[in-house]
Symmetry: C2
Subunit: 407 residues, 2 copies
């Protein structure tokens, strides 16, 4: 007997048959006595279809009207899911974001949630109804429809769970949880039962696409227990909370990696204050996102400066950097777009020395050269040649005993 918020993504509601499968799941939970608030995305393909229509009439569709258009995707799903539930004799009521109402700022296409009025939802729940809410959308104070941007349905679910003080926010997706690493690379990869928000954030930002970073941040801020489960198979999934409940935590939770990196280095830059912003400023101005940044201690009053970008931004970043290097009187600019980033992540790292050493030793044993290193409190990332990616991930997975149940 608890209030649970569940979110089903586009694939989970992609066809009428799948909507009917979701219906069964919901009725099972309902029959166990739970109060259910369900957040759904647009049926898979629908958002792309609408986007294509928009692009046919306007090469740069206006934000407000784009939100009016795209928000219909989820609106279709909420109605169909309620109808499917009613067909089974279970009462359900749908709400668009504006009807809830989920008040956002007026940044169309990437609005931020300001406030949630839980009145309508609480009333419907009190009547024993399942409440179905359109994800990804809200309205501003003037009643204009807004959307939270792609993947925003996760955020809607977490925000509702926070507002309603739900016991858990369950994100149903096409994988059955968060894994120690990508099972396609390491067949021994193991589903984690638990994980902290911080670990999940590091995993997500490192290419583990199970959850949107933003929704994990949101869950962390409001301390909403988040569970990732599969729509298609049974199982407890992965629970993400502030702290793992087990006495003995695993030192390392997983190995994340990011294939599509490229690195750029400017050599022999005159070493004076403000040099970093002079180098990265022009890059940021072109909306190129920079990932890792490393500056080595200089010698002869010059320094070497390296950063990584998404591989698709490599060429334009290289051009910008070459112009900057000339202005700054740097010696040389080099680049490599055949690199990959591999990271070990785990809150246990905080209290365990030697993690970095194990990592470097493991890679050295496989003769994998490390070209960059960057660390955070719960993560160590290295950049290696992309041809070593699989070997690096597999050997690290084994070195940290991740195939064994330990958490």
């Amino acid at each position: 007997m608890a209030l649970i918020v569940q979110k089903y993504g586009g694939t989970s509601v992609g066809t009428i048959e799948r909507i009917q499968e979701v219906t069964k799941k919901l009725i099972k939970y309902k029959n166990e006595g739970h109060d259910l608030v369900v957040v759904v995305s647009a049926m898979s393909g629908e958002t792309n279809r609408l986007m294509a229509l928009a692009n046919e009439v306007n090469d740069r569709p206006h934000g407000r009207e784009l939100d009016v258009l795209l928000s219909t995707g989820e609106q279709v799903t909420i109605a169909l899911l309620c109808m499917a539930l009613e067909q089974q004799g279970v009462h359900a009521t749908s709400y668009t974001g504006g009807q809830v109402r989920i008040l956002t700022d007026n940044s169309h296409n990437k609005a931020r949630i300001m406030e949630i009025d839980d009145n309508n939802i609480r009333t419907a729940l009190a009547q024993g109804r399942i409440v179905v809410v359109a994800g990804f959308q809200g309205c501003d104070e003037h009643g204009n429809i807004t959307t939270l941007g792609r993947g925003g349905s996760d955020t809607t679910a977490v925000a509702l769970a926070a507002a309603l003080k739900a016991e858990e926010c369950q994100i149903y997706t096409d994988v059955d949880g968060v894994y120690t690493t990508d099972p396609r690379v390491v067949p021994e990869a193991r589903r984690l039962d638990q994980l902290t928000y911080e670990e999940m954030l590091e995993m997500a930002s490192l290419g583990s696409k199970v959850l949107q970073t933003r929704s994990v941040e949101f869950a962390s801020n409001y301390n909403v227990p988040l569970r990732v489960l599969s729509s298609f198979t049974e199982g407890g999934g992965t629970l993400i909370t502030a702290e793992e409940s087990q006495m003995e935590q695993a030192v390392i939770s997983g190995i994340a990696f990011n294939r599509d990196e490229a690195k750029l280095t400017v050599l022999g830059v005159p070493d004076h204050p403000g040099i970093a912003s002079q180098i990265l400023g022009p890059i940021a101005k072109e909306n190129i996102e920079v990932d890792m940044i490393i500056q080595n201690t200089g010698h002869d009053a010059t320094t070497d400066f390296t950063f990584t970008v998404h591989r698709s931004d490599f060429q334009s970043a290289l051009q910008i950097l070459s112009r900057t290097a000339e202005t700054l009187g740097a010696r040389e600019v080099t680049g490599d777009d055949k690199i990959t980033k591999v990271s070990v992540v785990g809150v246990g790292m905080r209290s365990h020395a030697g993690i970095a050493n194990t990592m470097f030793e493991t890679l050295a044993n496989e003769s994998i050269n490390i070209s960059m290193i960057s660390t955070s409190e719960i993560k160590i990332s290295v950049v290696v040649d992309e041809k070593y990616l699989e070997l690096a991930v597999r050997s690290l997975h084994k070195a940290f005993d991740l195939e064994k149940v330990g958490d």
Copy 2:
């Protein structure tokens, strides 16, 4: 320089190309200095697609959720039309029914408009914007989405024109106006320049499908000048107002007909008060709509009672009537589903004697037997064998000189 409400139906906005054609029309009006409020339907086929989805999950979809679903159709169109206008550098703002807001009662799928708040629209118009409103929809006092039923976009347009005191409400459709009769039956049929609400109502209810009866009633109640035009060709269309402005009105405006009628007769019913409701009550209870009703003066304390229904309801009506006849002790029940109704319509009829006579004489000259007659102030309808339909319409069209410009 006037405020004009224009409505474009599903065919007129059925493809991206057609939406772009509508855009051109709107910009032309805008450049002439008019203020424009545009009401659009769902792209043709969209409502049927959504309805099919609903029927897949529920054999009797719940009214509230059906409205949530179907209202997305128009919402897509308003966004696309605004984007197409903005692409041409013309500022436009879209509103769903709820955003306007168009307040309705809570009869889902067939809601009635209670009140229109013109605040948002007036503000946008004052900023020189074209306002695009989703037809067919509104919201109830609790913010639930409602729809006005199929064809309700016409009603939305007329209601907005009334609320905004627009100079004219223009209904763009796939025909270029209202004709003296169906041009497929009578090639000489002529487009009428003007018509009264009453005449249009009679024409519409008699099978002339150009306008929804309900929207004409609405226009009549609020005295909104209504103009029917083609989206695809140029021309002034047909203007529908309270009174035709010409000094000399045409006696007859048009010949309407309805192919799909069937008649039922119960013979030798004991003639006592309340007999009509005893016969028609059970029919109405099964939601069968009755059109013409005729009761002849009885003889021998019995009477004969005849009525017509839509042809698709013939068999069930016959069964019900047979049971009723038995209960009432009537002599016999007969029926005929091969009949058709032909009507002459015109406000001029009020002041001109002899119209009925001309009609009956014309049909007699063609040896067409009349099996039922029913009259209203501005209409005379006869029921004839369906095989005579074309002959009857053509000979009446000629008899009343409708091919000549006279109105």
